[in-house]
């Protein structure tokens, strides 16, 4: 009896269990995401222009969620890394691997929209602003993790190597942020001004939050779908290894 309970707990987060959950959840998540975006884009369209940034404040509705989800992606990878190293849980490996490209894509969205905001506001596509620069380093770290996943052939070995790198990155990211802020105040160009001043008006804050929610739902949907792919990919790999060993 005791053994059965233990098995049930292990099984609860097992990849097969997750596959069943993902198959049921993805259509729902996708539907809710579409609804959320319909509402959020409507809110963003009717949002008034900022007194300082004019209509370009609408770019912030993409830029800020991109930054938030880029950071959330690394936070999830950090948790998954602990799961990999401490509990050796296969679902943690899968989460860490699937989160890397998703987080990287949202970080890239943050960078590209930030750059397109910078051109009319700062007069240049790229300004070595502290926030943009930190996000750029985050993006480079994501690319490093993806490169590592693509270099090590054995998935569980790759997971453990990536987990160490993720944890070191999580430790270093606040230091990088602090360094870049310090560096930026040292080299502050006069033309840079801060977004929206100290407070953001409600008329802009609400669409921003709604957009952030919609993008978060999209992030979760894509992450669950990517995790399902990763589980299937591992099955294919296992079957092929069986095939190869049966043939020899």
């Amino acid at each position: 009896m005791k053994k059965e309970i233990a098995m049930a707990i292990v099984d609860f987060a097992s990849p097969s269990r997750f596959l069943k959950f993902a198959d049921r959840a993805i259509p729902w998540l996708g539907g809710v995401t579409v609804l959320a975006f319909a509402f959020a884009i409507n809110q963003a369209m009717i949002a008034p222009d900022d007194y300082q940034q004019g209509a370009t404040v609408k770019i912030m509705f993409l830029h800020v969620p991109g930054a938030w989800l880029g950071m959330l992606g690394w936070a999830l990878m950090t948790l998954a890394a602990l799961g990999t190293l401490v509990w050796r849980h296969p679902l943690a490996d899968v989460t860490a691997k699937a989160a890397a490209p998703v987080g990287a894509a949202f970080t890239l969205m943050c960078l590209v929209t930030g750059s397109l905001w910078g051109r009319p506001m700062w007069g240049a596509y790229w300004v070595w602003d502290a926030r943009l620069t930190s996000v750029l380093v985050l993006f480079l770290l994501y690319l490093g993790v993806i490169a590592l996943w693509r270099t090590v052939e054995d998935p569980s070995r790759a997971a453990r190597a990536a987990a160490i790198l993720t944890l070191v990155g999580a430790l270093d990211l606040p230091i990088i942020k602090f360094s870049v802020d310090w560096w930026n105040t040292l080299h502050q160009p006069a033309s840079v001004f801060r977004l929206g001043g100290p407070t953001i008006d409600r008329s802009i804050l609400i669409p921003l939050l709604v957009m952030a929610l919609a993008f978060t739902l999209l992030f979760v949907t894509l992450l669950v779908a990517a995790m399902r792919n990763e589980i299937l990919r591992r099955r294919v790999r296992t079957l092929r290894l069986m095939q190869a060993s049966a043939a020899s």
């Binding site: 097969s16 198959d23 222009d49 940034q53 004019g54 209509a55 370009t56 609408k58 770019i59 993409l62 830029h63 991109g66 490209p101 998703v102 894509a105 949202f106 890239l108 969205m109 590209v112 929209t113 397109l116 905001w117 051109r119 009319p120 999209l218 894509l222 779908a225 990517a226 399902r228 792919n229 299937l232 990919r233 099955r235 294919v236 296992t238 079957l239 092929r240 069986m242 095939q243």
Partner: protein, 67 residues
Amino acid sequence: MEPANHIGFIVAAYAAATVVIGALAAWVTLDYRAQLRRLADLELKGLTRRSASKRSELAMRQAKEDA
């Protein structure tokens, strides 16, 4: 700061975001189909996982995808 001057940048930002996230979504979708196809191929060759006794599971998944 004329808002009209910046409409191009706003459109470009939304288009770029759509391209980046759309590419990710397309990759995820295509990857899913590719993995299903590979699993189906392997199943045709008579290979199944020991724990997956139901042969029909993959076929059902494939059928759902094709529909």
